[in-house]
Symmetry: C2
Subunit: 159 residues, 2 copies
């Protein structure tokens, strides 16, 4: 297998591992467990699940992968702090959205060639990208992988 192919597969595995771990830890939780806060007065696990689903859903246009699936989550889970707005969807629908969004993203990532991983994402200008070719799709996916790990560390504190 060519070097560039192994490198991009290794990076993709990191995304897949983090998504799988989050899914295994969070999606089996009951409605009541998802209402728990990660620490006194902090975000509920349900908010973190909504937040990550919405942030990942935003990757479709950012990576040139078409339309978003769940823009209805942004108001409550990106633009507002936890509990400022009512939850826009049921727990069942939120878990389904999490699964759908990540499944569709992962399928698209698996089809990327190494060169396609290096295309620019739409949040960077042509000028900045010309100066720094590491501001590519892979950088965005690595960023979101670390962001998911960050909130996973919080979610497992809830009790």
């Amino acid at each position: 297998m060519p070097t560039e192919e192994i490198l991009s597969r290794t990076a993709l595995n990191s995304w897949k591992l983090v998504i799988d771990r989050f899914s295994q830890a969070i999606t089996p939780l009951s409605d009541e467990q998802l209402e728990r806060q990660v620490a006194a007065g902090r975000n509920r696990v349900r908010y973190l699940l909504g937040h990550l689903t919405a942030i990942h859903d935003r990757m479709f246009p950012l990576l040139g992968l078409g339309e978003r699936l769940h823009p209805e989550l942004d108001e409550a889970y990106i633009k507002s702090p936890d509990r400022a707005l009512p939850d826009p969807v049921s727990v069942t629908d939120l878990k389904k959205a999490w699964g759908e969004v990540n499944h569709k993203l992962t399928s698209a990532f698996e089809a990327f060639t190494p060169k396609e991983w290096l295309e620019k994402h739409t949040a960077v200008s042509d000028e900045d990208f010309a100066k720094d070719p590491t501001r590519n799709r892979l950088a965005l996916v690595m960023n979101r992988t670390n962001h998911a790990s960050f909130h996973m560390g919080q979610a497992i504190l809830a009790k």
Copy 2:
């Protein structure tokens, strides 16, 4: 720049970003602030700093980069839960160790060619590596990057 070179630089940037963010958030904290727990009854920030320093220090032999710098941290920060043992080093020395270990690792990573990123790490057998070439140095570094993000998410909850 060749595709394989941009891919490995992009992945290395992800490590550097996470280490920088952790350093900026945690190393300015006072001794008193480092004694705070991330949530009631949970790890102190000082324990997380010790834990990440020790885990990163273990990467030297795992990646074939020579001897460890700070094996004295393992007993208190890897093998034991927080507060089971006295802190083995002062806060000043712990912050210094964090800086040293990550600086030396990052310098070594910056010198890796794309092919060197794909060498196997010493925690995988020759047989397993032959079956799965993604169990390489890059995979280990991506894993540790996500591990640092995981604990960073917890550390910022302390107050």
